[in-house]
């Protein structure tokens, strides 16, 4: 088999058993890998509580991983989110994914709960559980350092160990498996880390065809101003968006009470480059290298993190923002949820945390002590407990990232239809509503958005299953990636096929969520966005979202998806009919 290894490594931590199984080729063709394969493997488990020992934690690479396909050294981690209760997948780049494939694996399926802390060490064909008592309690960098020599590392920090509901898993090079709290699922299993090494090589079915398609992709990257343009993410990283969001008046400020933060220039892309002499960094094997770090190797924050620790909390000091970001990475916490939870708490208290207070609050959240006990629960639970649920700026309990939905109506809809809660990446309408790729759409109009979001969700579900990085698609399209996939596997895939696969993945996720009680009542933005305007000015009006028009477009979306007006399935056999 080309592209896939056809093998999954299963681990039962309760009894300490590790074994390999074959994955049927039909399943790989039907779900590709990454998110799709992980979601399929959740079929018998999705109803379990996220902290139930039998809940699987799945690491899955895709058929392009291990090839020179641009941005494809990635994997998806899939489980059920303790933060939202939804199905949850997170995509992360790095050598870990590459080496998992080189160890002969398409996926790693971990269930059970170890009686004592352990680390799973995979080395080629062999795998063992190592005692990790001495690692338990370590911050991410220490843990990675302690495991040096074992290949690539994926580890949790104290936040994951302590069950912080937005704990991340962090890769050795610093890439986060973010959102949704899968680090807490790993912590509940008492699995501190996974290490992996391997020497396998992925063979290409048609190397010449592959190279042709790879060049097509690179040409499109070069032609994309957002990627390799003078002001693009390759140069400035995702903080290139800071100035743009300011100019479009849609930068969430003070818990989304406003949409312009006058001091955002302090942490813009050019400011970060200038103040930190930022150097290129990024996922292994990626030609774009959108991440930036200091000359000493400290990872600099991405757009979401600078904007949420900045504008959302009214903090203008870049140094304080960089520090908050580093603390989250060291402790293994999601920056978006951490910053948004602080912000919601700040609004309830009547005072947003100062730059000086943030480090201690983040440490308290990771340790779940003092105010951190509440903060560790995420904004929805925190605001409920404090009697102000209206102030959690989340959808399905997942905090919204740094694109105000009043400034982009496709984004507003996509936050609500996303299967993992308020996430910008499922349909990524910022691409066309703001960045004009592949074509611009009117950000203040709902016209056509239901269909556009549905198509983009399907497309991105396929992308997350290849697994490739979303940023590739600010230049390339599924056309070129279908070519790469066909050339890799020797099986013909077309963009249309891939979108159909994506649709099946999306609907399977939605099915799981519906079975767990999610309905259209959960596909709703916080009340603030329908009631309060954003910060209008400079000729741009940012009115509240028209509730009736939003509801109308959501109903259109359900019809396009073949769902009932409640957003559920009319066909009770949907899931069993899927491969």
């Amino acid at each position: 088999m080309h592209g896939w290894t056809g093998t999954i490594l299963k681990v039962d931590l309760t009894v300490g058993r590790i074994w390999r199984e074959e994955i049927p080729a039909e399943l790989l063709h039907a779900y590709l890998g990454g998110r799709g394969l992980g979601v399929r493997l959740m079929r018998d488990y999705f109803r379990l509580d996220p902290f139930d020992p039998e809940m699987p934690l799945i690491f899955a690479v895709g058929p392009l991983c291990g090839t020179p396909a641009p941005t494809a050294a990635r994997l998806a981690v899939v489980s059920r989110s303790p933060l939202t209760g939804t199905i949850c997948d997170c995509s992360a780049g790095g050598r870990f994914a590459w080496r998992l494939k080189a160890a002969g694996l398409d996926a790693l399926f971990i269930t059970g709960q170890s009686p004592t802390p352990v680390a799973l060490a995979i080395d080629g064909d062999s795998a063992e559980l190592l005692p990790a008592d001495t690692l338990w309690g370590m911050e991410v960098k220490e843990s990675v350092h302690a495991l040096a020599g074992h290949g690539s590392v994926a580890t949790i920090g104290p936040a994951g160990e302590n069950g912080v509901l937005f704990a991340n898993i962090i890769m050795g090079e610093g890439n986060s498996v973010g959102r949704g709290g899968l680090g807490a699922v790993m912590g509940a299993k008492r699995l501190k880390a996974v290490t992996v090494d391997g020497a396998g090589i992925v063979s290409l079915a048609d190397a010449e065809r592959f190279e042709h398609a790879r060049r097509d992709v690179m040409r499109l990257f070069s032609a994309s101003p957002v990627i390799f343009g003078e002001l693009g993410i390759a140069r400035f990283g995702t903080p290139a968006l800071v100035d743009l969001m300011r100019q479009r008046r849609m930068a969430p400020t003070e818990n989304f009470r406003k949409t312009v933060f006058p001091a955002s220039g302090n942490y813009s892309g050019p400011a970060i480059l200038r103040d930190y002499q930022a150097k290129n960094d990024g996922c292994f094997g990626c030609p774009i290298q959108c991440k930036k770090s200091t000359p000493q190797g400290e990872h600099l924050p991405e757009y979401e993190s600078v904007s949420h620790f900045g504008a959302l909390n009214g903090i203008s000091s870049l140094a304080a923002i960089v520090k908050a970001n580093t603390i989250c990475n060291d402790l293994g916490m999601d920056t978006i949820t951490a910053a948004a939870t602080l912000s919601a708490w700040g609004e309830i208290r009547g005072r947003f945390p100062s730059a000086e207070e943030v480090p201690a609050l983040l440490r308290a959240a990771a340790g779940r002590y003092g105010d951190g006990g509440l903060l560790s629960l995420g904004s929805r639970r925190l605001t409920e407990q404090l009697g102000r649920p209206d102030l959690s700026m989340s959808v399905k309990g997942l905090e919204l990232p740094a694109y105000d939905p009043r400034g982009a109506y496709g984004m507003a809809l996509a936050y609500c239809t996303s299967n993992r809660g308020g996430c910008h990446l499922r349909a990524y309408p910022i691409s066309h509503e703001i960045l004009r790729k592949p074509v611009p759409t009117d950000r203040f109009s709902f016209s056509g958005k239901a269909r556009i979001i549905k198509i983009a969700e399907d497309t991105n579900a396929a992308v997350d299953s290849l697994v490739a990085c979303k940023f590739s698609f600010l230049g390339a399209t599924l056309e070129e990636y279908a070519e790469l996939l066909s050339a890799t596997t020797g099986t013909e895939f077309t963009p249309q096929n891939l979108k159909e696969i994506g649709e099946q993945i999306y609907l399977t996720e939605r099915w799981y969520n519906c079975e767990n009680g999610f309905t259209s009542a959960d596909d709703r933005l916080p009340e603030r966005f329908y009631a309060e305007p954003g910060s209008s000015g400079e000729g741009i009006e940012v009115p509240p979202i028209d509730r009736a028009r939003f509801a109308e477009e959501l109903q259109k979306y359900y019809r396009i998806r073949g769902l009932t007006p409640e957003g559920t399935f009319s066909d009770p056999t949907y899931l069993v009919r899927q491969p």
């Binding site: 097509d216 040409r219 499109l220 990257f221 070069s222 032609a223 994309s224 101003p225 957002v226 390799f228 343009g229 003078e230 002001l231 693009g232 400035f236 290139a240 968006l241 800071v242 100035d243 743009l244 300011r246 100019q247 220039g265 813009s268 892309g269 050019p270 066309h432 703001i434 960045l435 004009r436 790729k437 592949p438 074509v439 611009p440 759409t441 016209s447 056509g448 239901a450 269909r451 556009i452 198509i455 983009a456 399907d458 056309e479 279908a482 077309t494 963009p495 249309q496 096929n497 979108k499 159909e500 649709e503 259109k556 019809r559 396009i560």
Partner: protein, 390 residues
């Protein structure tokens, strides 16, 4: 969405790329919306139904070059492979279906081809193009296929001459009927230099519209900029040159802000041109004859195979330097600036023309017209030299 269908049907007529009465546009909202020729509307709906995309344009091109390319293609071929840069970059190739391969209901086969490509040619029907997200996108893809087949046919004709019954007559009709004299006559330009931001925005918007109205671009792509102090006012990426209002980014030379991340993919080329010449304004379009002529090279025994990106030479055509270079960060930004300052104009292999104005847009626009007119005249001169007259 109905307004979008009407708007882009209108544009297909205004740019004379489709035949009146032979246009259909369909769009999938939660229900199918479509307008145009009833038979084509039926076909469009039936194809769109099978695709995971939002819109479709089905139209018969106003010149029969796409059909000629299909008829001239060797028996085993199933795709047209143009050599121009836009097509290479964004479309790769253009699959086609021959008239005698069409089944009673060709929708399934067409949908299958469109499942992999943005546009196809169906012999006897026309060009069918999809738009994943918007009606505009389907229009753009239609226009791109129209442009690509137009350029490819002219190229092939110069090498192979007429080969089909009726081809010569159709080409003569194209030459006398479809082609119109290209001039800047009647257009009004501000004299420049321009410094007032409102004036700059207005002038850029106006001149953008002129380039589309005079047919100097394919669909509505190209880019345009004006320098004022530390700022470059440049059209945004994927902006319609005939609708630039609100789509012009002011970008600082010092890159102190990134709001211009949405600026044209040719920002780097524009910046370098401003830095290395006395240009006050820049125009870039894809006039068809210039694209064709830029790819004609008489060099013998040249070892370069990918001329469009690797040719290291500066060739001169009608006084205009021709250089190679891919779009965006891919080389054009390095190769155009060193050659444009003196002549005020440059062609990029298989891509288009850059021109500059030292004060206002009149000079740049006139230069664009002159280059295209020279290329047009030269093309027909070469055709005649080969004994190919239509």
């Amino acid at each position: 969405m109905k307004d979008q269908i009407a708007k882009y049907a209108g544009k297909l007529l205004a740019d004379r790329s489709a035949l009146a009465g032979r246009i259909a546009i369909a769009a999938n909202d939660d229900v199918l919306l479509a307008d145009g020729d009833p038979a084509l509307v039926r076909l469009a709906g039936s194809v769109l139904d099978r695709l995971n995309c939002l819109s479709l344009v089905v139209a018969s091109p106003a010149v029969p070059f796409a059909d000629f390319l299909v008829a001239r293609a060797p028996a085993g071929d199933c795709a047209i492979v143009p050599r121009d840069t836009e097509t290479r970059t964004f479309l790769h190739d253009i699959p086609f279906l021959r008239a005698n391969d069409l089944e009673a209901d060709p929708a399934a086969r067409i949908a299958q081809l469109l499942g992999s490509r943005k546009g196809v040619v169906v012999e006897g029907v026309g060009i069918i193009a999809s738009g994943a997200l918007t009606v505009e996108q389907a229009y753009i893809n239609y226009s791109s296929v129209f442009h690509a087949t137009f350029v490819k046919y002219l190229e092939d004709l110069l090498v192979e001459g007429f080969r089909l019954p009726g081809e010569k007559e159709a080409f003569a009709a194209f030459r006398t009927g479809w082609l119109r004299p290209l001039t800047a006559e009647g257009l009004v330009f501000r004299p420049g230099p321009l410094s007032n931001p409102d004036e700059i925005l207005d002038e850029v918007t106006t001149v953008g519209r002129y380039t589309v109205e005079r047919g100097l671009v394919d669909s509505f792509f190209g880019n345009i900029s004006c320098r004022s102090g530390d700022l470059i006012y440049i059209s945004q990426t994927a902006a319609s040159l005939d609708e630039l209002s609100g789509c012009i980014d002011p970008v600082s030379f010092g890159n102190t802000s990134t709001t211009g991340i949405t600026a044209s993919s040719e920002l780097a080329a524009h910046r370098r041109i401003f830095e290395t010449s006395d240009a006050a304004v820049i125009l870039h379009g894809h006039p068809k004859f210039a694209v064709v002529m830029s790819m004609l090279c008489e060099e013998e025994g040249c070892p370069v195979t990918d001329c469009w990106k690797d040719c290291p030479k500066v060739r001169i055509m009608g006084g205009t330097p021709v250089v190679a270079g891919e779009i965006g960060a891919g080389g054009l930004a390095k190769r155009v600036p060193p050659v444009i300052a003196g002549p005020g104009r440059a062609m990029v292999y298989g891509h288009g023309v850059f021109t500059i104005g030292r004060t206002g847009f009149a000079e740049a626009f006139n230069a664009l017209v002159e280059v295209e007119n020279w290329c047009r005249t030269e093309y027909f001169r070469r055709l005649a030299l080969q004994g190919i007259t239509g």
